[in-house]
């Protein structure tokens, strides 16, 4: 739709003028309704509504009221801004009404049952496809109009039959009845009416005569189309990502248990997380209760120095244990999954036969389901019947029998010994992440110009020099990306621990990690507010680490630009 060539708003028909007046009136009415809606949470009309929801409703509808009023004025003044605001407000309202219709109609919850119904009815979609192909086959008989028409006709009937059969088997009649039944109440009818009204308002504002009357230009139309295409993703981001993010920030200042209205507790959750103390010890084995106020603090750890030492206590010792374990885990996993990946990528980048096969092989752990992987490793790690210990035993016996080595079978208790439990998780994570990192390094390696290596060869550089002076510096952007994403992933370790360990915290809390602790607090101990605070502290830790990596990257990336 292009309006730039038309004189703006000079040849308005009475009909267009009427539409403009109606749209301006609609905007004023919308503004009034939105204002009333914004006040509703505070007038007792919505009993039991949590404060945060009331605030959200008031802010959203208040803004809508202001912008709608502004749009009403702009429409009367024939400013295009009024059209833009109207389209945005009506589009968002239409989407909201549509979602409300789906919700009230029971579509979201019914989707669970759809898998079963779809399994029965999907075959009829192939009939529809067959009909389509039959009709499309008419294109090959353009020289024979009768055959062409016949094929198209048959194709249409086959498609119609397939479609009807699909609808019947997919429970469409019942679905329509259920939808009608669910929507036959004030809320449902209101949502349907809203869809109709907002749809009409959108159409009236979008059509060419209105656009012309409001001085629309080609640029405006392009911008609107751009936003329209972007809107599904943008709305999804706002509703499913940014919204919960802000909500969790709010919850972190409350005592929310997810079931009852939360109470505002200010910074209490953060204070509890960060409340620590360090006390000197008279002797290395002095009891914590003798130096700590045990009504507040628990011992996290102690540092033995000579005949004394230092005792580290915290109000929430599990957080500090989790932080310690998570950092140790990240410290081990990052080099173990990055350095071997770099070596592997260099090997796989060579032109040896079969390399493509091995690239796929090393990538498989990255795409395998983590639950399956953890269960397999659980069996491998089993101290009594696991394969790892079995092979260690075989090796020890072989060495003892062959060389009289006198070795003792260590019978490692991989997951039940606090000295090896975290290591077990690290091994799995490094093994699993390495393949993905290898692919990233491979991509980076293939971007390095071959001429540089040729020049280096001419200059007499050896393989190590080429790797050290060409490959590694030019891989810096890839290395930075790999290291930072692996660090972020490592700081969020959860699934491996949750599935592999029993209990997940491991022996003497040796595998409790930050996300695991967050999950336990929020979903098992009914402390959603506290868990939200933990999530934000974790975010700050990860953000800090990533920031350090960014700064390091800027300093060292001499080859950039």
């Amino acid at each position: 739709m292009t309006h730039a060539s038309h004189p703006a708003g000079e040849l308005l028909t009475p009909h267009t003028l009427l539409v403009l007046r109606l749209l301006a009136a609609w905007r004023a009415l919308f503004s009034l309704l939105a204002l009333l809606g914004a006040l509703a949470p505070w007038t007792g009309l919505l009993p039991g509504l949590p404060v945060w929801q009331g605030l959200l409703i008031s802010v959203a509808l208040g803004l809508a009221a202001v912008f709608s009023l502004l749009a009403s004025r702009d429409i009367l003044l024939r400013r295009h801004r009024g059209r833009m605001l109207s389209l945005v407000l009506d589009y968002l309202s239409l989407v909201a009404c549509f979602i409300a219709v789906l919700q009230i109609g029971g579509v979201f919850l019914g989707i669970d049952a759809l898998g079963e119904v779809f399994g029965r009815s999907i075959w009829f979609l192939f009939v529809v496809l067959a009909g389509y192909l039959l009709g499309a086959a008419g294109d090959y008989f353009l020289h024979d109009p009768r055959t062409e028409a016949l094929l198209r006709q048959i194709g249409k009937w086959v498609m119609l039959f397939g479609a009807l059969a699909f609808l019947v088997v997919a429970n469409l009649p019942q679905g329509l009845l259920a939808l009608a039944r669910n929507l036959a109440n004030p809320a449902g009818l209101g949502a349907v009416a809203g869809m109709v009204v907002f749809g009409l308002a959108l159409w009236a504002m979008w059509r060419s005569p209105t656009a012309l009357a409001l001085n629309a230009r080609t640029g405006h139309e392009q911008m609107l189309s751009g936003w329209l295409f972007l809107s599904p993703n943008l709305l999804g981001f706002l509703i499913f990502f940014a919204g919960p993010l802000l909500l969790s920030f709010y919850f972190s200042f409350t005592d929310s248990d997810a079931f009852n209205p939360p109470n505002w507790v200010g910074l209490a959750n953060y204070a509890r997380i960060l409340n620590v103390t360090i006390k000197p010890l008279a002797s290395p084995d002095q009891l914590a209760r003798e130096v700590l106020d045990i009504s507040v603090y628990d011992e996290v750890g102690r540092l033995k120095i000579g005949n004394g030492g230092l005792l580290f206590g915290a109000e929430d010792r599990f957080f500090w244990l989790a932080l310690r374990n998570t950092l140790m885990y990240a410290l081990a996993v990052v080099p173990l999954s990055v350095i071997p990946a770099l070596v592997l990528a260099n090997i796989l980048n060579s032109k040896l036969p079969g390399m493509k096969f091995f690239r796929a092989v090393y990538f498989i752990p990255s795409i395998a389901a983590i639950v399956g992987i953890a269960l397999v490793w659980q069996w491998l790690y089993n101290a009594t019947v696991g394969y790892i210990n079995y092979f260690i035993t075989l090796a020890v016996e072989f060495l003892n029998n062959t060389f009289q080595a006198g070795l003792t079978d260590p019978k490692i208790r991989w997951v039940s010994d606090e000295r090896t439990a975290l290591l077990s998780i690290i091994i799995i994570a490094a093994w699993q992440t390495m393949g993905f990192n290898t692919v990233l390094f491979l991509a980076g390696l293939q971007n390095i110009p071959g001429e540089l290596y040729e020049a280096a060869t001419v200059d007499g550089a050896g393989a190590w020099d080429k790797f050290w002076r060409i490959t590694l510096p030019l891989l810096a952007p890839s290395t930075f990306y790999v290291v930072s994403t692996t660090t972020i992933q490592a700081m969020q370790v959860f699934e491996q621990v949750f599935i592999l360990m029993n209990p997940p915290e491991g022996p003497n809390n040796s595998t409790i990690t930050l996300v695991l602790y967050l999950y336990r607090s929020g979903f098992q101990n009914f402390k959603q507010g506290y868990a939200s605070a933990l999530a934000w502290v974790l975010f700050i830790v990860i953000f800090g680490l990533t920031l350090i990596q960014f700064r390091q990257q800027r300093r060292s990336s001499i080859y950039e630009n």
């Binding site: 579509v107 997919a170 679905g175 259920a178 079931f259 208790r413 915290e505 003497n508």
Partner: protein, 453 residues
């Protein structure tokens, strides 16, 4: 035409799917999850009220039995349409999923929760107090069930009273269970150890005799173990109970893990793992080696029976050995059917609750071998004894008869918090990284904090 038609077909399919999704719907508040039955869901008659219910099955056989029970009760209960949802297993986080649904307001009308969760759900107002409904029901008697679970199910936090007239009833117990030792009779015979079942009959099955059998079987090879138990509060708790100790004081308002009796029980268990080295290392899953024929005595509940029935060696069960105070220290495990506080049909949900806990319904579930009926009565006992193997089902009933400690919530504190502190500390002792003395010196300083939360 083709492109346009193709687009139209796509739009049509999407719209049809959305509308078809409505077809699986049921009236609010109980919205449908994955239907339990593969058949096409039927729309209830207009006057029927749909009640969704859920319980945690341990395997597909249990899912099938509960599905059948749901169908039968559906036919019996006039005006009620039942929808059964299996709800996963413990490995699939039954509890976490349920709590999320409760928070979202989409949980079923009736659901099962473990006994330890009753206080949390009740005090947060998530389950319905059905005392009034029960009082209006002719013939209903709380004393028909085991008193231990009913103590907690009738506990009224408002007045601190329990019993039929406390003014509270939070649900009805689905079933009960106790621990027993699953025996690998082939290993015991091979080791020349006495038969624990015979020792139990003679009243000689105590800690000493237990240790003797464990040592003799352990001597069969470095990969053969005398005893195995999983790493959670149930298995280690029995040794504390049997020594006269326990997790809490008598009124469950403070930690009792540091009493001499509790420490004695813990010391005996530590010795099993560390000194005598007769046990599958603590924290390692003992079931795979038991099933592989490498563990002589495997401590587990009745729920393990269906799985154990598939092993190829000779096996049976025996009750737990008696401890220094003359008792086994066993647990009375239980879970309860409760009613969602947000249900719109409490009367119908209550009818379902009663129907699910009749002797007849419980007998059908117990026949699978995984549960013991929660109703007290010789009839239930007699029926249970017929559900073989194991031949010595009496071992479980002996456990029930030996004054077991009832699994239960903490009305004066938070059980999850308590367990979070106690579990790792005990594990540290049993894996040798902490002594019993060190454990006793600090554990209650930490664990008592769970009573303030």
């Amino acid at each position: 035409m083709n492109r346009k038609l193709w687009m139209l077909a796509n739009v049509f399919v999407l719209a049809a799917l959305v509308l078809a999704a409505c077809g699986g719907g049921t009236p609010a508040p109980a919205q449908p999850q994955q239907p339990a039955q593969p058949e096409q869901p039927q729309q209830p008659a207009a006057e029927e009220i749909t009640i969704r219910w859920r319980t945690r099955p341990d395997n597909q056989e249990e899912i099938n039995v509960y599905s059948t029970i749901s169908k039968e009760l559906d036919a019996q209960l006039d005006g009620i349409k039942l929808v059964y949802e299996p709800g996963g297993t413990e490995g699939a986080n039954y509890q976490d999923q349920l709590r999320t649904e409760v928070a979202a307001g989409t949980a079923p009308d009736v659901f099962w929760i473990p006994g330890t969760d009753i206080a949390d759900f009740a005090t947060r107002g998530l389950i319905l107090n059905i005392a009034d409904l029960a009082a209006r029901t002719e013939g209903f008697d709380v004393n028909a069930f085991y008193p231990g679970p009913m103590y907690h199910l009738t506990y009224n936090p408002a007045n601190g009273q329990s019993g039929a007239n406390s003014g509270a009833l939070w649900g009805l117990p689905r079933d009960v269970s106790t621990f027993a030792l699953y025996l690998n009779l082939d290993l015991i015979e091979e080791a020349g150890a006495p038969d624990p079942r015979e020792l139990a009959k003679q009243g000689k099955w105590d800690w000493e005799a237990f240790l003797d059998v464990a040592k003799k079987t352990r001597a069969l090879g470095s990969d053969i173990y005398g005893y195995g138990a999983s790493a959670w509060w149930g298995p280690y708790g029995v040794w504390l109970n049997a020594a006269g100790g326990g997790f809490f004081n008598a009124d469950r308002t403070a930690c009792a893990l540091n009493t001499p009796e509790s420490l004695k029980g813990l010391e005996f268990q530590r010795a099993l793992y560390q000194e005598h080295d007769v046990a599958v290392p603590y924290g390692e899953d003992p079931e795979p080696p038991f099933r592989a024929g490498k563990v002589a005595m495997f401590q587990n509940g009745r729920w393990a029976t269906p799985g154990i029935r598939t092993v190829t060696f000779n096996w049976d069960v025996v009750e737990l050995p008696k401890g220094p105070n003359g008792h086994m220290g066993n647990w009375l495990f239980w879970g309860a059917y409760v009613i969602n506080a947000k249900t719109q049909h409490p009367e119908q949900a209550w009818k379902l609750l009663q129907a699910l806990t009749t002797a007849e319904t419980q007998g059908k579930v117990a026949a699978l071998g995984a549960n013991i009926p929660s109703r007290v009565g010789q009839e239930a006992f007699d029926a249970f004894l017929t559900f073989t193997p194991p031949a010595n089902n009496q071992a479980f009933l002996n456990g029930l008869a030996d004054n077991p400690a009832t699994e239960g919530p903490l009305w004066a504190g938070s059980w999850p918090e308590y367990d979070k502190i106690m579990g790792p500390a005990i594990q540290a002792v049993l894996t040798g990284s902490k002594t019993v003395e060190e454990f006793g010196a600090t554990i209650c300083d930490e664990a008592n904090k769970a009573f303030n939360k």
